[in-house]
C-alpha cells in the first residue's frame, strides 16, 4: 500500500515535528506500525491540552500524543505569559522592580519580594533591623501557607473534587485579609522591600495572626479527612508520576517536588538565609507506602507525596509563625535606605525557599542606580521541565494528576 516502511515511532516523531513547524499541531497523524509486529492499527492523535484548558493552571500548553486514552508523549510549550521581567529589571531601580517580582509567582508574592530584597541587600551589604527580619519571615511563611492552600485546592479540583477548593479558599481569604490589613493589597503586595518592610505591622496584628493560627491548625486535619486520605484520591494519585530522587536532582527540581521524592533538602534548613536558623521546624519528605500514615499505595516521589508534603509544610509554617510571634522584637522595621541607591559593580546570586521551590535572583550592578542584569530562576520553570519525562505512557487523567502535583505558576515559568 505504501512504498517504504519506516518504523512507526520514527515516522510519527518526524511527522509530529513537521506538523509542529507548520503551526498546525492539531492534524491527525496516522501511524503505520510495522505489520509484521501485528500491533493494533490505531490512530494516534495530537491534541492540545491548553493554553486554555481547565487543568493546566493558567496558560500552559501541553502537546499530547495520545492513543485512545493513553498518552504516549507530552511536550510542554510555554511562553504565553512571557513579559521579559528580566529586561524590565535592567531598566528600573531595585525598589521599582519589587512590584514586578510580585507578578512572577503571584501566589507567593511576599517570598519573591523577600528574595529579591535579600539579593539586593547582599549586593549592597545592607543590614536589616531585627523587627524587619521577623516581619519578613512572618509574611513569607504566611504566604507559603496561602500558596500551598491554593495548590491543595486546585489539586482537588484537578481530581474532580470541588469542595476542597472552596475550603482552601475560605482559609486563604483570612490570610489575604491579614495581608490587606498590613499593606492594602490582596495579591501583589510589594510589601517587603529593600531594607525591610515598607510599613510596620498594624496595631493588633500579632493577636489576629495568633487567632488565625489557632483557627487554621485544626483545619488541616479536615483537609486530610476530606481529600488526602480519601480512597479515590489516593488511588488516583499514589504511584502516579513517580520521580526518583536522582531524576529530581538531575532535572533541578526544588521545593515540594524535590522533597516529595524523598530528598530532605530545604534551603531554610540546609543553607539558612535571613533568620531561619533561629526556628525549630521539620522538613517533611515523601513517604513510602504504609509508613508514617501514608497509604499503602504510596511510593516515594509520586503525585500523592508531592501533594502531601505541601499539607505537612503548612503545619510547619504554622510552627514557625508561632515562634515568630513569640520572638517578635520591637524597633525599626526598615533600615535607612538612601533615596537613590547606587548598586556597586558586584555580582551576586541568591536563592530563597519559595512556595514552589527555590527562587533565585542573580543581580549584577555596575555603579548605576539600575542593575546591569537581573536573572530570575523560577522554580516552576525547572519543575515543569520534567513533565515530558514523567508524562509518558500514562492516561489522560494522570496528566492532570501529575501536572497538578508539580504545581506550576505560569507567571513564574514564563517570567
Amino acid at each position: 500500500m505504501r512504498g517504504k516502511r519506516v518504523s512507526g515511532a520514527e515516522r510519527n516523531r518526524q511527522g509530529m515535528e513537521d506538523k509542529l513547524l507548520q503551526g498546525r499541531p492539531d492534524v491527525l497523524v496516522e501511524v503505520d506500525r510495522d505489520r509484521a509486529g501485528g500491533g493494533l492499527r490505531t490512530e494516534e492523535m495530537l491534541v492540545n491540552m491548553g493554553p486554555q484548558h481547565p487543568s493546566t493552571h493558567g496558560v500552559l500548553r501541553l502537546m499530547l500524543r495520545i492513543d485512545g486514552e493513553l498518552v504516549l508523549e507530552c511536550t510542554p510549550h510555554i511562553g504565553y505569559l512571557h513579559r521579559c521581567a528580566e529586561k524590565i529589571g535592567e531598566n528600573v531601580t531595585p525598589v521599582q522592580f519589587i512590584p514586578i517580582t510580585d507578578r512572577l509567582d503571584y501566589l507567593a508574592a511576599m517570598i519573591n519580594n523577600h528574595g529579591y530584597s535579600l539579593a539586593v541587600e547582599k549586593l549592597l551589604g545592607m543590614e536589616v533591623p531585627e523587627r524587619g527580619r521577623y516581619i519578613r519571615v512572618i509574611m513569607s511563611e504566611l504566604n507559603r501557607i496561602a500558596s500551598h492552600l491554593v495548590s491543595f485546592g486546585a489539586y482537588g479540583l484537578d481530581m474532580g473534587a470541588f469542595t476542597p477548593f472552596v475550603y482552601a479558599f475560605r482559609e486563604r481569604e483570612y490570610i489575604l485579609d491579614l495581608f490587606e490589613q498590613v499593606c492594602g493589597a490582596r495579591l501583589t503586595y510589594s510589601y517587603l522591600s529593600i531594607g525591610g518592610a515598607t510599613q510596620d505591622l498594624p496595631e493588633g496584628f500579632p493577636e489576629r495572626l495568633a487567632q488565625f493560627l489557632d483557627y487554621f491548625e485544626p483545619k488541616i486535619a479536615e483537609y486530610n479527612n476530606l481529600l488526602s486520605f480519601n480512597q479515590i484520591f489516593v488511588k488516583r494519585t499514589a504511584g502516579v508520576g513517580v520521580i526518583s530522587a536522582a531524576d529530581a536532582i538531575a532535572w533541578g527540581l526544588t521545593g515540594p517536588c524535590l522533597r516529595g521524592s524523598g530528598v530532605k533538602w530545604d534551603l531554610r534548613k540546609c543553607v539558612p538565609y535571613d533568620i531561619y536558623d533561629r526556628f525549630e521546624f521539620d522538613i517533611p519528605v515523601g513517604l513510602p507506602g504504609g509508613v508514617g500514615g501514608a497509604p499503602r499505595e504510596a511510593v516515594v516521589g509520586d503525585s500523592w507525596n508531592r501533594y502531601y508534603v505541601r499539607i505537612l509544610e503548612m503545619q510547619q509554617s504554622v510552627r514557625i509563625l508561632r515562634q515568630c510571634l513569640q520572638q517578635l522584637p520591637s524597633g525599626d522595621f526598615r533600615a535607612k535606605v538612601p533615596r537613590v541607591l547606587k548598586l556597586p559593580a558586584k555580582e551576586t546570586y541568591l536563592e530563597v525557599e519559595g512556595g514552589r521551590g527555590q527562587v533565585g535572583y542573580l543581580v549584577v550592578g555596575d555603579g548605576k542606580a539600575v542593575p546591569r542584569r537581573v536573572k530570575i530562576r523560577g522554580p516552576s520553570f525547572c519543575n515543569l521541565s520534567i513533565a515530558s519525562h514523567v508524562c509518558r505512557n500514562v492516561l489522560i487523567a494522570d496528566i492532570a494528576a501529575i501536572i497538578g502535583s508539580i504545581d506550576v505558576v505560569m507567571g513564574e515559568v514564563d517570567r
Binding site: I78, G79, H82, C84, E86, K87, E90, N91, K122, L123, D247, I249, A250, W251, G252, V263, K264, W265, K269, C270, V271, I283, V285, K346, E347, T348, Y349, E351, Q358, G360, L362, V364, R372, R373, K375, R377, F381, C382, L384, S385, I386, H389, D414, R415
Partner: protein, 181 residues
Amino acid sequence: MTAQEVAELLIARFGTAVEAAPVEIHPGVRVTPEAWPAVARFLREEPRLSFNMLRCISGLDLHPEPQIELVYDLIAMRAPTAADGLWSNGGELAVRIRVARDGGSVPSVWDVWRAAEWHEREAYDLLGVGFDGHPDLRRILCPDDWVGHPLRKDYEFPKEYQGIPSAAAAAEGEGGCGASG
C-alpha cells in the same frame, strides 16, 4: 568546599582551560568552551565535588565587548549521613564561560544535568547563544517566529509583530521615547 578549593582542584586536573574567577560574593571558575563538557562531567562525578544540581544558567551580555558570559550556578547536595536524614550543602560554585556575541556557541551539558535543557533553550532564546549538541534547541519563551534576542543590550523592540503594532511603535507615534532598552 569553597570555590577557591574547587578552582585549585580543577586547575590541577584541566590546566589552562580553567582559571579561578574570584568575583566578589559570587566566586567561581572560568572555563573555556572547549573544555566545558569534560569539566562539567568532572564537576558532577568527582566524589569530592559532586555538584549534582544545576540551579541556573544566566547569560550576561557584555556589550560593547563582543562577548556574552554564561554563568552556571551549581550546588552540591550531599546525601545525609546523620540520622535525621537531612541533606547538606557541599558547596556552591559559579562557572563562567565567555562566548562570542555573534554566532558563538557552547557545548551543551544537557546530558550532564538534565536541568540544562530548558535553561540552555532560554539562553538561546533571550540572548542568542548557541548550544552544540542540544537535542531540541528551539525558542522557549518567545514565539518561534520572533526576531531578535530580547536580553541583548542593543535589542530594539520590533515595531510590529504579525501585523499587530507594538507598544513601542505606539509610544513613538505619540512622540514619547521608545521602550527599547
